[in-house]
């Protein structure tokens, strides 16, 4: 069984002290241990942004890609090697801005990857421009008079496209976040987690106090049914827009097969383990026969 130590590397994160990414970092490592994965088993694909440096600070198979593109890269990894657990980690600018198209299609594609978005409501690594989740009126260097657009609703988007696992955590509740990640790792298809993340430098309006006041757990009364799509959509629409931020597993169904379950070639096992030429060498003459 893996231990936290095995996930450690000899590199100090470059995040600001107090950054919510530290919490996510810890939750991820703990979840991997809790879910009994070895570092070998995991491919962590990230984008570009502060939080996308996550895999530089852990011992896992890491693939730090391009801004906005980790989701298709992760899907390629997954299709090539279904023996690996593929987890995507990236920021809100990356996931909902530059990478919005991949997000929407990942939600309906339902490939077995975990997609964790570190949603600090701002472009942090590029020093504080507004992001697709910044609230209307948020003032930044690219919105000196305040953002004119409604923020993206990531949960609503995922749900509307048929996502089968939709959750929200935040970087200040490690225990819940770890739980969400463990559940996501266990999900059959696309497991989406929007993680509201503190950015102490560029989003000083959403710090500890803000979270304490605004977040609540959907299952705090024990009466929330995450298999109820309508209820889930209601929860999704509470925030952004309203004042209360629901967290927890908002929606989940295990009834939908993952994309790769339907892919005929993968019936023979992980692609990377299959021989380069699957069929007996003589069979390849068929390809020529077909052209005669």
């Amino acid at each position: 069984m893996a231990t936290l130590q095995e996930y450690a590397v000899d590199i100090r994160p470059t995040w600001c002290s107090g950054c919510g990414d530290f919490g996510i970092w810890n939750a991820l490592k703990r979840a991997f241990v809790a879910a009994e994965y070895d570092p070998q088993d995991i491919v962590m694909v990230s984008g570009i942004g502060c939080g996308s440096k996550m895999n530089d600070y852990m011992r896992v198979n890491g693939l730090h890609t391009l801004h906005g593109r980790p989701v298709p890269v992760a899907q390629g990894v997954r299709l090539a090697n279904t023996a690996r657990k593929v987890i995507c980690v990236h920021g809100d600018g990356d996931g909902y801005g530059e990478g919005g198209n991949h997000f929407l299609h990942a939600a309906r594609r339902n490939m077995g990857i975990v997609d964790l978005v570190e949603n600090n409501h701002v472009y942090a690594l590029t020093r504080g421009q507004y992001s697709p989740t910044s609230y209307k009126g948020f003032k930044t260097s690219t919105s000196p008079f305040g953002v004119l657009e409604k923020p993206v609703n990531p949960l609503g988007l995922a749900l509307s496209q048929g996502a089968t696992f939709v959750a929200r955590g935040h970087s200040l509740d490690l225990e819940q976040l770890q739980h969400l990640i463990v559940e996501a790792l266990d999900h059959r298809g696309y497991a989406f987690i929007d993680v509201m993340q503190v950015c102490v430098t560029y989003n000083r309006e959403m710090l500890y106090d803000w979270y304490r006041e605004h977040t609540y757990k959907v299952d705090e009364n024990g009466d929330y049914d995450p298999s109820d799509w309508d209820a889930a959509m209601k929860k999704a629409m509470e925030f952004p827009g309203g004042d209360r931020v629901p967290t927890g597993i908002i929606y989940r169904t295990e009834d939908v097969p993952a994309y790769e379950e339907g892919e005929p070639t993968l019936e023979a096992g992980p692609l990377v383990d299959q021989p380069l030429r699957t069929r007996p060498w003589e069979d390849y003459q068929i390809l020529l026969d077909e052209q005669m």
Partner: protein, 582 residues
Amino acid sequence: MPANEISFRIGGEAGQGVESSGAGFCQALTRAGLQVIGVPSYFERIRGGHNHYSIRAANREKPVWSVRETVDVLLALNAETVAEHLNCMSPNGVIIVDEDTDLEAMQSELDESDVQLLSVPIKEIAVKHGSDVMTNTAALAVAAAVSGFDVKYMMSVIEDNFRVKGDKIVNANQAVAQEAYDLATDQYGLLVSEALGDRESPPRLSLHCNTAFAMGTLVGGCKFVAGYPMTPWSSVLEYLSGHAAGWGMVVKHAEDEIAAVNMTIGAAYAGVRAMTGSSGGGFDLMTEGISLAAMTETPLVVLLAQRPGPATGLSTRTAQGDLMLAIYAAHGEFPRIVLAPHTPEEHFFAAARALNIAEKYQCLVIVLTDHYFANTVTCRDRSLFDLDAITVERGKWITAQELDDMDEYDRFAVTDDGVSPRVIPGSHPKAVFLTTSNEHREDGHISEDPYVVVDQISKRNRKLEGMRSEIRPPLREGPENADLTMVTWGSTYGPALEAMEILNENGGSANMVHFVDMWPFPTRAVQEALSDAKRIVVIEGNITGPLAHLIETHADIPIQERINKYDGRHFTYEYILAQLED
């Protein structure tokens, strides 16, 4: 009409099956042992308009490499076809129309010409045995009859191609063909100067270059393809979609080209051979991904199927306008290979070769093709597609044994040749490492240290030396010393080759230097091939003349004459001959 060859043309509306009829007829001609080439011309529309398909078939040993602009036998599926192509007819050419075709508008022109107009009840025959969609079959059978081409070859193609639709369809089509053939044989007999006949030939294929390329990826061990439809790349994606299951390949039609290239990179990183492709516009969108592959040293094969640009341009026409793009696309500095196959078998081998080179150097290989190649049917000896000639070279890998003995595995170890041994991520307890698009240390972790930066950039660019060794010199065709040297790349090969042969047969003196591997530019070989040339003419399907430019700038050989065609249409040997005379 030249002896022992016939130039056919089928014309009609989009949706009338002009292309499938043409390709099927090519297949029949190929089965008869003839030399055949077939080229469609179609508009960016699904129905209506005017499409046509040109076929040149010859009873000779030498392959035919170009269709002819003049038409010997025209199958006009509508009146418009007659109007459009009447002026291309060769003396005493034959035009086949359905008896109900209203030709009144061009009656006087027809009368003045010497064409032989055959008004045949082809639709009636079709409907009699099946339905009017079989009119094309009837028309082809008439063409066969008057050309002295045995209908039995048509019969065998009908049987094979319509088998999936069931016996009824096969039988109906065959009945249509037989009746039309018999009627035309009775009524007209041979109307061309010499019967096409048939000949003993080794087994041959009749195929598109895109198909050949796609086959090559399967034989070459490609396991993963992601792409997005775009003419003229789509048919590769479609062929492979149809051949994935059962052939051990996963093919993904993605949401866009950006997803396609990034999925491909993900799969290649995970350890499988992977490929993507597109046409210019989609390729543009892939360039950031290409740059990711370069930084992460992920092997990547990209098929760039050219069509006229910029922007949407002419989506169903051909061009060679993206050579410089292939050489310089994507930001940052890194070495790459650009190949430009020129025959079906070269496309076949280019796929496998690209996969090998990409893995050997963990680099980008772009294969340049174009719309003409994608859609032209060429008959080629089956023996040219020697499967055993395709080997798999996967480059440097580190073994589990070696890992066991190692302190730490460095994915990006600085090596003399710039290539660092790979391993499947996660396949061994020590095979756990970071791969990043940022500049990085040998172990893969991010670094901004100037010494590390220089080491890694130098290492990556050092691969160029090895990559250069993969580059083949330009091919030389024809006699050693000649008065005229035609220089070509890609799809100008065939028309130029035929032009050269005709020149030499007629007492001229011409040869050819044909580029197959475009980049790294084979400077020395080009200088060798061209420095003694007496008259160089560079022939390209574009306006700016990128190859001429590369030869001038890189090989320092002045290019006085160029033949550039950029009307979206392919070259013919007649066009080249005419331009040479100008």
